[in-house]
Every structure is written in structure tokens, then in C-alpha cells.
């Protein structure tokens, strides 16, 4: 397929696909968002709509899941996150909400990717704070509740709480796309001789049994997993595991679907200024953290039984660096997974897109390279 002139008047900072890969949105320093469509997955993109969305550089875009209608979130140097809605299949977009809690430019915005999590929007900017917004009533998009905000990591930020401009700080966030957590204890007692219907298969469990809200966020050179955990009777986001080993600013994070590995573990890829693409493997480990358990006492009274109180559903991840590649030999800026979490792409300053695929043993191997550099004429002639 041929390259497409977007009509932007400045550099493009991000692109986003809708859930089906049928619509494509681009954003630019020209403060415009453009939406393209294609009649089939192999056809060329054609411009569907174009609108001025912010008052400064637009850094990132994200489409919501289609069950919430056609919603597009954008974030900008103007320190806001905006939500735009289309009711005519992308031909026009109307701004329905402006979220302006950030104290600095907002670098990345991402709608939750798993339906069971509700209509949630995460963002992070130069103040290093990750924020989660929730539209409790998806039919009324004017109201977004700030459900969570926390500094990812104070290191690297100025005393004022924002990253120095000359550091070219970067901040990224990505939701776990899978609603499934299959902990080792979940399958440890499985007998392959069992009748299939007896197996507690992931695909037979309900959303409530499976959905664990979690995302990965990076601030400068630190990367952390955040997860909702039971805390005082309420599920709240907490910073949990760190993905260690980055020696410079992390440019991007991407959480893979765990479908390709049957939910046995999670994979998170990072793109780093130190030139490495890293793939982390997160294997669940049961914790059994003590928590408060209320039991019914005599005559309807309620008492607290602290000795027996254990949250049997709580877990942690064992984090392992599964693979790392420095083939770009330069700064890596973007990582992206396919739908099954079996193919990873990375791109960077070498003007190449590199593809990696999961092999039978679970390791990743090179799949190929797409180069943005033209072939020398003499080689073409050859």
C-alpha cells in the first residue's frame, strides 16, 4: 500500500486504530486530529474527518471500545485530555469532555481495553502522575470521575513536580488488554484425564471472576505495574511490581494480550532510550495477604475475625526479563503488540520497524524488518 499524505501541516505524533482497525486517527503539532477509514483491511485509507482538537501539540490518541460508541480521547501540550464523540460513524466528532487536572503537558492517553473494566481513561504527563478517569454513566460523557491519581516515580522530576524540558522526559501508559488472570494455583491441580467440562477453563468464567484491572506506566527510566487490590474492603489501584533494568528514559510501554500463551503469564514490552527493546514475563504468584473478614456472629451481630482473614484471590507477579534486543543500535521509541500477543513490533532512530515473534519455546526471535530508508539506486538496478 502506498504512503498517504495526511494533510497535517506539521509532524504527526501519534496514530490510533479503532477496535476493528477500520478507522485510523492521527494527531499532530498542527493541533488537528484527522480520521481516516478504509473499506477493507487491505484497501487504502481515505480521509473521513478533520477537526481542531486542542490549542497546542497533540501527543496521543486512543479510541474507546465500540460498545461505548465512537469515542476518541486526545491529550496535548495544552495540559488537557479531551474526549470526542462521533454519532455518524466518524464523519464528524464533537468534543464531549475536557479533563484538565494535569499540571503539565499530557503525553499519553489510553482507554481501558477490556470491556469488563468499564469506560475508563488513563493518562500521564510531564507531572509524572498517572490519572484514571471513569465515566460511571457512559450515556452521559460530560461527567468523568477522577478515580485515581498517583506519582509513578519521583525520581527524575524537578522539585516543581514536572520533568525538565531539557531532559526530554517521557511518560507512557498501557492497559492490560486481557480480562483474564490465570494464576498457577488455578491450574495446578488440573488432571489432563479429567472430563473437559470439569476443567475450570478461563473462557468459562465470568467477567467478575476474571477481570483484574491493571496497567503499566513509565516515568523517565522507571516502569511499574499498577493493579487494583483489596484494601480495607475496597478495590483500589496500587503500584505493585517494578519492571527493572532500564538505564535511560523509557519511551513506550505495551502490555500484550495473554491469549497467545493461554493466560499462563503476561508479557510487557518496553522501548528505551538506552537502545533496548525489553520483553518482561510476569508470572502470577499467590499471595494470600491478610485482610479483614467479617463474620456473622450471634443474634445478627457482625464481628471481625482477623486471624482467619485472608484474601485468597490476591496475587503478585514474579517479573522476569524474558528477552531483550538491541538491534536498533539506537534509541527505541515505540513498541506494539498484535492481538494475540505473539508478535511485537519496535521502531526507532534507525528508521526501521523490527518485528519479533514468539517461538515454540516461548522466546522471541526476529521476524523481519521494514525499512523507511530507500534502496540505493545501484542495488535496485542489480
Amino acid at each position: 500500500m502506498n504512503a498517504l499524505s495526511t494533510g497535517h501541516e506539521d509532524l504527526i505524533h501519534d496514530i490510533a486504530y479503532d477496535h476493528y482497525g477500520r478507522l485510523l486517527a492521527t494527531c499532530s503539532s498542527d493541533q488537528y486530529i484527522k480520521v481516516f477509514t478504509r473499506v477493507s483491511p487491505t484497501a487504502d485509507w481515505t480521509l473521513l474527518s478533520s477537526f481542531k482538537a486542542h490549542d497546542a501539540n497533540i501527543f496521543s490518541l486512543s479510541f474507546a471500545l465500540p460498545q461505548y460508541g465512537l469515542l476518541l480521547a486526545s491529550c496535548s501540550e495544552d495540559q488537557t485530555v479531551r474526549v470526542h464523540r462521533s454519532v455518524d460513524d466518524g464523519r464528524t466528532f464533537v468534543k464531549v469532555a475536557t479533563l484538565s487536572d494535569s499540571a503539565g503537558p499530557v503525553h499519553q492517553v489510553a482507554f481501558a481495553k477490556f470491556g469488563g473494566h468499564g469506560l475508563k481513561l488513563a493518562c500521564i504527563g510531564t507531572d509524572g502522575i498517572v490519572r484514571i478517569y471513569h465515566a460511571a454513566d457512559p450515556t452521559d460523557l460530560r461527567h468523568w470521575h477522577l478515580a485515581f491519581e498517583k506519582v509513578v516515580d519521583k525520581n527524575g522530576l524537578l522539585a516543581s513536580g514536572v520533568a525538565a524540558r531539557d531532559l526530554q522526559g517521557d511518560f507512557a501508559i498501557d492497559w492490560c488488554p486481557s480480562g483474564t488472570i490465570r494464576a498457577p494455583w488455578f491450574t495446578s491441580n488440573l488432571d489432563t484425564a479429567m472430563d473437559d467440562s470439569d476443567l475450570p477453563r478461563v473462557d468459562r468464567l465470568t467477567i467478575e471472576e476474571l477481570a483484574v484491572e491493571q496497567f503499566v506506566a513509565s516515568s523517565m527510566s522507571k516502569v511499574f505495574v499498577f493493579r487494583k487490590r483489596l484494601n480495607g474492603g475496597l478495590y483500589e489501584y496500587e503500584r505493585t511490581e517494578e519492571l527493572p533494568g532500564h538505564t535511560d528514559i523509557v519511551r513506550d510501554v505495551a502490555w500484550a494480550s495473554n491469549a497467545g500463551v493461554g493466560g499462563r503469564y503476561e508479557l510487557i514490552a518496553t522501548a528505551c532510550k538506552d537502545g533496548w527493546v525489553r520483553i518482561f514475563k510476569l508470572t502470577t504468584r499467590r499471595l494470600g495477604v491478610p485482610t479483614t473478614e467479617y463474620t456473622n456472629g450471634a443474634a445478627g451481630t457482625v464481628s471481625v475475625n482477623e486471624e482467619k482473614s485472608v484474601d485468597y484471590d490476591d496475587f503478585a507477579y514474579d517479573v522476569e526479563l524474558l528477552d531483550q534486543f538491541d538491534h536498533h543500535k539506537s534509541e527505541v521509541w515505540k513498541v506494539s503488540w498484535n492481538f494475540a500477543g505473539t508478535i511485537l513490533s519496535s521502531s526507532g532512530d534507525d528508521g526501521r520497524v523490527r518485528f519479533w515473534r514468539e517461538a515454540y519455546m516461548g522466546k522471541f526471535v526476529g521476524l523481519g524488518v521494514a525499512s523507511a530508508e530507500q534502496i540505493p539506486q545501484d542495488e535496485v538496478d542489480d
Partner: protein, 739 residues
């Protein structure tokens, strides 16, 4: 399509890559490199020794061996398949300049398909765009995952193979466990081979052709048609994959006046015999124009042709082989007495071939395949001896591992099926998956499964998953991919279906129904709900409101139906009444005929719709009744109250007969009072009323019966006051009239 760098395949050892084919790249191991020799067989002089030729079982370590090669390749960047983006924005050799301009490349994969978009961004994240932006830097560059885009021709092969797979699965289910005496697999294997043959001829792809050779070899060795022996099948495979002697070689000699006198005559005869081409060999002898007058020579030639023509074939071959071989041995001994040296030597060599003499066959053969096939055909066609013959052959003719198909065939002949599958996977995942399925059904992979200690899916399943993922990511073959994924053990395949099913765009109701069918079959209730809600949103954007409501009703989603009702009311109050689609019209006009939940939830809009219809028909009294009941509806959102009060204005005119009885007027006044008491509801109502008035002012022409024609320029709060005043006035009028 893509332009390919000249270096992209230059080191691969096997020649061309056809961009028109675009079949899937291997996933089991790294593509694009030849099957690198393992440490054991790296030397070209060292014989190929299969790790599975011995008694020991297959191990996962054996599979790992394949990966050692992959890892070696990883670090050699030039060995990775590379293509250049269409309209590549960086001039050749100017990468550093481009970087100096502060540019970088970014890429994002599509949520379902095997492609993505690359674009150029600046490295300075805080802007500072002082560098002039070139036009090509404001473009986006579609890019495909290397070798993942399947051509239409290849998709046809995938579909044909899938159809055969379904047929085999159905037959297998009906027959239960495959009865060795009535094995259905060879029949299906033959058909698969035919499908593959047609595809490779149509697509002209070298890798598919190589996969065909390996596949043919494997079927010859393990899935032989009962009408022929395995030895015949193996020889048939050899003659097809490497035909010798060629037609030209034969005709060059046999079209001369005296073929017998040609220097290559005996070479031709021996090669024909070696290749099991008995009839052709016999004909050569008959048509050689030998000028022997002595009876013993004539008799010897007659015996030779007789032995050749009576070579046992098919079902009788195995039993008759021993006796036929004895004839060949006796014939060879008799030939030693022949006086004509040339004839004697030629016939003795022929006899030695036919009796399966190792030295003769090794001396006359040109490849390990030829030696193996000849020994298998002539020496002892017992299947158990095939790998033994292979070892003899490769001791003299080492396997050329730079040719992938040769490496695959060597693994097949040596009985190393997992390795053969891994080689096939390098050539074509679809073929590898189907072959693994055949092997699995024949229980040829049992040993491999049994020793698995790691938490890995069975190899056959893993190949099907790889193929299924490719199908799911290819337009038009998602449902085929889902079929394969469903047929794999455990939860992995189902998880992949579950992950991808909501990404399939339901471009029509038939696709939607098919997707929901799969959800139902696999009990994906949540995904079914998500698909239906997303579909209803799509229908709404296409103005198919009735259909959207109908689908939401099918999953009992009252929340969304209620939201649609209010959206309809809001849109109508703002923009005026539009004609509903057929289904919605049916719901609105014949509420008794629609499902209970729909009837209940769309009632507010249906009431407003009835009000407008009666108003249009001039039945103002009836219309007023509907509006009054809507204004008294306890769950009416506050924002609608203002505009609905406005709708009341034309009905309260003194210039026309009274439309509402006293009790209704008082009830409306009470509702108005309640509404004004709630500040939030009141404010919302006034704001929305103002919005409707604004909208009216912006529209050049309103419908004649639109109340805003007369009141568009009055502020919202004044409208409310006016309504209140008119209501009071109407109540007093009613009182006077009732006196």
C-alpha cells in the same frame, strides 16, 4: 506492493522469494535462513544422523536444537528478512542526516490484522520544531508484518485445505478410532497433496513447492495408498521431485539408428532400472537394435525384459519380492557366462541393481535420495528398514541442509517427524499444521507428546494455533482461523478466539449472526454482549434505530434501550421529528406488537411521537392528552421538561377550543412546580430549552407545527413564565366554561 532489498534473500541459500505469494512465515523457528546444520552434521562430509533414528524418544531438547540455530541468526542483522516501505521517506544513504534532523520512526500494529502504520516523529518530545517539516514527514506509511499478507491465490489454498480438514475431522468422528485395516488417512493425504500441488503450480512459489516435496515424501513414507507399496511410493516421490533420466536424455539415445551403440546406452538402462521404471527400461532393451545373433545373448535379453516386466507391483509386491529378487540373482549369475563383454557387463550391472546390491546402487546413484529409494525398492521393501537405508545413503551422499526441502525429506526418511515438521513450518505454516494433524491422527507424535515436561501445547496444536492466528489476522479467513483454534487442546486456542472475536467488524447482519453463533457455541456470553452492544451502536450511527433496539432487547440490555429512548427524544426536541426507520415505526405505532421490555422502555418517546402525529393530523385534543401524560411522567429527565412545556404553548391558545380538562391542567401545574423545586432539574431544563431555541434560530425553516416558530426569539426562562401564565389562564378559562 513492497520493494525488496537485494540483500533480503541473498544469503538465504535457497533462491527466490515471490512477493505475489506472501504465504506465512514460519513461527516455529526463524524463517529466511536455510536449515542450518546442527553441530553434529555441520561438516559436509559427515553423515546425517537423525537424533530419532535411534531407539530414544523425542525430547524437547531436540526442538531446542533447532532454536540454537535461530538464536545464532538473531545477531546477524543481514539475515533478517528486510523490505522497504512503499514511498520510503529517507533517501538512500541519508539515514544519519535524517537522524540529525531530530527525526525518529514510530509504528503501531493494527488491532487485528497483520499490518500497521509507520510515521515520522521528532525526537524532541517537547516540540521545538525549528526544523522545516518536509511533505513526506507528514505522511503515514502502511506496513505489513513481513510475509504475512496472503494473496488471494494463497487464501484459496487455505480454504481448500480447511475444507479437507473439516471433511477428515467429520469422517474421523464417524469412524471413531482409525482402524488400521481400513485407514482413511491415505485417501485424505492424497487429496491434500493434490490441493497443495494445484496451489504451488498456481502460485509459483518456491517455498510452497519445497513444502510439497517434503509433504509428498512424508505421505509416501507413512500414508501410502494401500494399492501400492511404501517402496513404490517413495520411488514415485523421488521420480516426481527429481525426474531422471530426463525425457531428453532418453530420446537422445533411443532415437538414434542403433541405440545400443551409443556410449550412454547402458547408463540410461541402469538409471531407468534404478528408478524403478521397469517398462521403460524393458522397452529400451527391446528397441536397442542389438545385433547379437547368438542364442545365449538373445535369451539373456529376453530374460532381462521378462524380469523387468514381471516386477511385482501393488498389493502383491511385498509377497512376490523375494521370489522376483531370486530370479534377478539367478539371472545375474547366468549373465557371467555371456561371451559379449559389453552385453555381459551391462546385464550383470542391471541384475545387481534389481537384486538390490548395495555397492552397485551406491556406485550408480547421484544422491542419498536415489540410494535410499533404490535400496528400499530392490533390497528389502520392509518399512522398518527405510531409516537403515537412509543411513547407508547419507554416509556417501551427505544431506545438503542448505536446501530446506532436502533437510525435511532427510528428517522424514530418518523417521524424525518433529524435525520434519519444524522444517515444514519454516516453509509454510499451513502445510506444516495439516501434516502435523495427519501425523497426530496416525499417532506418530505420541512419543514426542509423552516426554514433554514443559508447559507447552502439543506441537500439532501449536502449529494449528500459529496458522489460526494468521487466518484470524487475514481478511476473509477469520472464521477458518477460529475453526482451527477451536480444535486445539486446552484454553489457549479458545483464548485467542475470545481475544479476537470482538475485533471482527460485523459489516452485515450475517457476519454478526455468525459471530454470535460462535459465542454461543463457546459460551462466550460477555463477548456476545459486547458484540451486540457495539453492533447496536453501529446501527444507531446508520440511523437504524429500531434494529439497534431489537438487538439490545435480545440481550436484555434495558440500560442501553433507555438511553436510546432519551437520545431520540433529545434529538427530536432539538431538531424536529424525523421519519423513523421501519422497525422503529412498528414499535412506535403498534406497541402491543413489540416485546414487553421495548414497549416499556420506549414509552416516553412513543408518547411524544403520538403527540406529534396527532398534532400533524389536527387532532389537538388527543395530542394534548399525550403531551400532558408525558409531562406528568415521574422519571422524565429534568432537561426535557423545559422544551416539553414549550410544546404546550400552542395548545393553550385562547383562540382555539380548550384542549385539556381542568384536572390535567392542574396536574401539569403540579409537575411544573415539582420541576422548579429541584434546582438541578430546573437548570438542566432551562439550559436545554435555551439550546432548542438556539437551534431553532439557526435553522432557516422550521416545520409548520413546530412551537418554536412563534417563540424562538424569547429567552428560555421567559418561555417558562409564559407557559405558567397561560396555564393559569387556561385553568381560569376552564373554570368559567364549567360554570
Amino acid at each position: 506492493m513492497f520493494s525488496f532489498t537485494p540483500t533480503s534473500r541473498s544469503d538465504s541459500g535457497h533462491s527466490s522469494f515471490s512477493p505475489s505469494f506472501g504465504g506465512p512465515r514460519p513461527i516455529f523457528s526463524t524463517f529466511n535462513e536455510p536449515v542450518a546444520p546442527t553441530k553434529e552434521n555441520a561438516s559436509p562430509t559427515k553423515a546425517f544422523v537423525s537424533p530419532f533414528a535411534t531407539e530414544r524418544s523425542f525430547t524437547v531438547e531436540d526442538v531446542r536444537d533447532v532454536y540454537k540455530d535461530d538464536e545464532d541468526v538473531e545477531d546477524e542483522e543481514d539475515d533478517v528478512f528486510t523490505y522497504t516501505l512503499q514511498d520510503a521517506p529517507i533517501a538512500a544513504g541519508r539515514l544519519q542526516d535524517w537522524r540529525d534532523r531530530g527525526r525518529t520512526l514510530k509504528f503501531r500494529l493494527s488491532p487485528l490484522h497483520n499490518n500497521g502504520i509507520a510515521w515520522i516523529d521528532e525526537r524532541s518530545v517537547d516540540g521545538g520544531g525549528e526544523v522545516h517539516v518536509a511533505p513526506e514527514e507528514m505522511r503515514i506509511f502502511p506496513a505489513e508484518i513481513p510475509d504475512s499478507a496472503l494473496s488471494d491465490e494463497y487464501i484459496k489454498f487455505v480454504k481448500d485445505a480447511h475444507e479437507l480438514y473439516r471433511a477428515l475431522s467429520n469422517a474421523d468422528q464417524i469412524d471413531g478410532a482409525i482402524d488400521p485395516s481400513e485407514n482413511i488417512l491415505p485417501k485424505y493425504a492424497t487429496t491434500f497433496l493434490q490441493i497443495l500441488d494445484v496451489a504451488r503450480r498456481r502460485i509459483f512459489d518456491e517455498r510452497l513447492s519445497e513444502a510439497y516435496v517434503v509433504c509428498h515424501c512424508l505421505f509416501a513414507a507413512y500414508f501410502v495408498d494401500p494399492t501400492i507399496t511404501r517402496a513404490e511410493a517413495v520411488m514415485d516421490w523421488l521420480n516426481q521431485s527429481d525426474p531422471r533420466p530426463t525425457t531428453e536424455e532418453t530420446s537422445d539415445i533411443m532415437t538414434t539408428a542403433v541405440p545400443y551403440n551409443e556410449p550412454g546406452f547402458w547408463e540410461l538402462v541402469h538409471k531407468l532400472a534404478l528408478r524403478g521404471l521397469f517398462l521403460q527400461c524393458s522397452n529400451c532393451l527391446k528397441e536397442a537394435n542389438m545385433l547379437h545373433s547368438d542364442s545365449e545373448s538373445k535369451k539373456a535379453l529376453q530374460t532381462a525384459t521378462s524380469i523387468l516386466e514381471t516386477a511385482p507391483k501393488g498389493t502383491k509386491a511385498f509377497e512376490g519380492h523375494r521370489q522376483w529378487r531370486a530370479h534377478a540373482i539367478a539371472f545375474g549369475e547366468n549373465c557371467t557366462k555371456l561371451s559379449d563383454t559389453k552385453l555381459r557387463k551391462g546385464l550383470i550391472t542391471l541384475a545387481n541393481i534389481l537384486r538390490g546390491d548395495n555397492d552397485t546402487i551406491l556406485a550408480l546413484s547421484e544422491s542419498w535420495q536415489e540410494v535410499t529409494a533404490a535400496l528400499f525398492l530392490f533390497h528389502d521393501p520392509a518399512p522398518s528398514r527405510l531409516s537403515e537405508y537412509c543411513q547407508v545413503a547419507v554416509a556417501q551422499f551427505p544431506v545438503d541442509f542448505t536446501i530446506i526441502s532436502e533437510a525435511g525429506c532427510a528428517a522424514v526418511i530418518a523417521g524424525d517427524i518433529p524435525k520434519a515438521l519444524s522444517v515444514l513450518e519454516q516453509l509454510d505454516v499451513c502445510v506444516a499444521a495439516h501434516i502435523a494433524d495427519f501425523c497426530d491422527r496416525q499417532r506418530m507424535l505420541d512419543d514426542f507428546y509423552n516426554i514433554e515436561t514443559l508447559d507447552l501445547p502439543p506441537f500439532r496444536d501449536w502449529l494449528f494455533m500459529a496458522h489460526g492466528i494468521t487466518c484470524c489476522a487475514t481478511p476473509g479467513t477469520w472464521f477458518i482461523g477460529a475453526t482451527y483454534l477451536k480444535d486445539t487442546e486446552g484454553t489457549q486456542g479458545l483464548s485467542i478466539i475470545k481475544e479476537s472475536i470482538t475485533h471482527v467488524y460485523p459489516d452485515n447482519e450475517a457476519t454478526l449472526t455468525e459471530l454470535l453463533g460462535i459465542c454461543k457455541e463457546l459460551q462466550f456470553d460477555n463477548e456476545a454482549r459486547e458484540i451486540v452492544i457495539a453492533w447496536s451502536k453501529l446501527q444507531l450511527s446508520r440511523n437504524q434505530v429500531g434494529s439497534a433496539i431489537e438487538w439490545l432487547d435480545s440481550i436484555g440490555n434495558s440500560f442501553e434501550i433507555r438511553a436510546i429512548t432519551w437520545q431520540l427524544l433529545e434529538s427530536t426536541l432539538l431538531n424536529g421529528l424525523t421519519l423513523p426507520d421501519d422497525i422503529l415505526q412498528r414499535f412506535l405505532v403498534s406497541p402491543r406488537l413489540c416485546p414487553g421490555m421495548i414497549r416499556e422502555l420506549i414509552a416516553p418517546y412513543a408518547t411524544y411521537f403520538a403527540f406529534k402525529n396527532h398534532l400533524n393530523e389536527g387532532d389537538v385534543v388527543e395530542a394534548a392528552q399525550y403531551l400532558a401524560s408525558l409531562l406528568q411522567f415521574g422519571f422524565l429527565p429534568g432537561r426535557f421538561f423545559g422544551p416539553l412545556l414549550g410544546e404546550l404553548l400552542p395548545l393553550l391558545s385562547r383562540s382555539q377550543p380548550r384542549t385539556l380538562p381542568t384536572n390535567e391542567l392542574i396536574a401539569i401545574m403540579n409537575s411544573l412546580y415539582q420541576w422548579e423545586k429541584d434546582p438541578q432539574k430546573y437548570n438542566e431544563g432551562v439550559q436545554f430549552l435555551a439550546k432548542t431555541l438556539d437551534a431553532a434560530r439557526e435553522v432557516t425553516e422550521l416545520a409548520g407545527d413546530d412551537w418554536r416558530v412563534e417563540y424562538a426569539n424569547i429567552p428560555a426562562k421567559e418561555v417558562i413564565k409564559l407557559v405558567r401564565s397561560k396555564l393559569v389562564s387556561e385553568v381560569s378559562r376552564a373554570y368559567l366554561e364549567e360554570l
